[in-house]
């Protein structure tokens, strides 16, 4: 039997009613292993106006580079204090902030190694299907050989890389539309 996936529709402006119960500002707890990172930024549209009704979902490996999921059969330890998922809201200015641990590297396809990264899904009114992007970390040596970054035009790669500010908070913005600063989104 062969079926076709149900058509995606926007979350609309009122998704909070159904979805905010899974909101999290901290993906890790006090006992989670790994280096803490705070990530913050802003969601803006094609006019540069803030998007105050977006929502992010974050998925990542633990500090050892292991996903808490049955498809990950790597010989690495799960962390009972880390699930790797968070739903992250934006505020009235379109800003978001969450804390987590920096993920370890995970295997890519065909024997490659992926640099540490977070998978991010973006939902909002006006997004008929969610966007998929990634957050990588500035200064990470493995970025140079990351198989997905290699597919991204060089001049656009910086939109996927979070950079620490003076307080050590990693800054990463979501620019939904724009000719030069638009965030790279993936055809998933």
């Amino acid at each position: 039997m062969s079926l076709y996936a149900t058509t995606s529709h926007t979350v609309g402006p009122y998704y909070h009613i159904g979805l905010t119960w899974l909101n999290r500002e901290a993906l890790a707890n006090a006992a989670t292993l790994g280096e803490r990172v705070a990530i913050s930024g802003q969601v803006v549209d094609g006019n540069g106006d803030v998007v105050n009704d977006a929502m992010l979902e974050v998925w990542q490996a633990n500090a050892a580079g292991k996903y808490d999921h049955p498809e990950d059969d790597q010989d690495k330890a799960l962390d009972p204090n880390f699930e790797g998922f968070g739903r992250v809201p934006v505020d009235a200015e379109g800003r978001f902030r969450f804390t987590t641990v920096k993920p370890g590297s995970v295997p890519g396809l065909a024997g490659t190694t992926q640099a540490p990264h977070l998978v991010v899904l973006v939902f909002a009114r006006g997004l008929v299907k969610h966007l998929l992007t990634r957050i990588y970390f500035d200064g990470e040596a493995l970025n140079a050989d990351d198989p997905l970054l290699a597919r991204v035009p060089k001049e656009r790669r910086s939109t996927l890389i979070a950079k620490p500010d003076a307080d050590g908070v990693h800054q990463w913005n979501v620019v939904l539309q724009g000719t030069d600063k638009e965030t790279v989104f993936f055809d998933y």
């Binding site: 076709y4 996936a5 009122y14 969610h130 998929l132 597919r151 055809d187």
Partner: protein
Amino acid sequence: MSDKPGYRRPQAGTQPDYLHPAYQSTNLRSPSQPLVFLPHSLSEITGPTIGAERINEKDNDLTAQHDGEPQGERIIVHGRVLDENGLPVPGILVEIWQANAAGRYNHARDLHDAPLDPNFTGTGRTVTDAEGWYQFQTIKPGAYPWGNHHNAWRPAHIHFSLFGPSVLTRLVTQMYFPGDPLLEYDPIYNCVPDTSAKQRLIATFDLEKTIPSYALGYRWDIVLRGRDATPMEK
């Protein structure tokens, strides 16, 4: 480690493009640069597994979340979650939200001049059973106006959110009701060209699920992306 199969890419015409000018909010929120092709790696064939441990028994009954009964027509909405290979998808989270019978959301940003119902929040969640079945009891939502164009009204709908087994099966969509005259005018319902894909968003009346003297039954099946038979990289 040898590569594991990824997920099937969408059938043409069944998934919307980001830019859909008839739905005005897409104009400034859709990417203008080319999307970058994503081969399906371990990062995407995994995903959050949020299951029954977070669901309370009454979470799938939107008519029983307050002291009194909500206004409106009581309905049962049920169906099966399958993947594109026809296999049931068990144990996954299904979240819903909706307007009340008057077409008003219990939300600070909904300014529609229709009454709120103190006995209706409009939030539900459940987990599919071993055969992929889900069920909610709720009330039929009303149509509501929106500012997209002159005299724009959304057909009655229930918002659905599903995780499925991986990041790639994540799905947010809307379920509609049969015979709704507003469907043909709705730019969201009409965001894909494929007529049968659109029709699959409409529930069917289900007399067998209808509870005598109590509630009408509707059936709506949901299909999540299915795995490719073999690993593939473009």
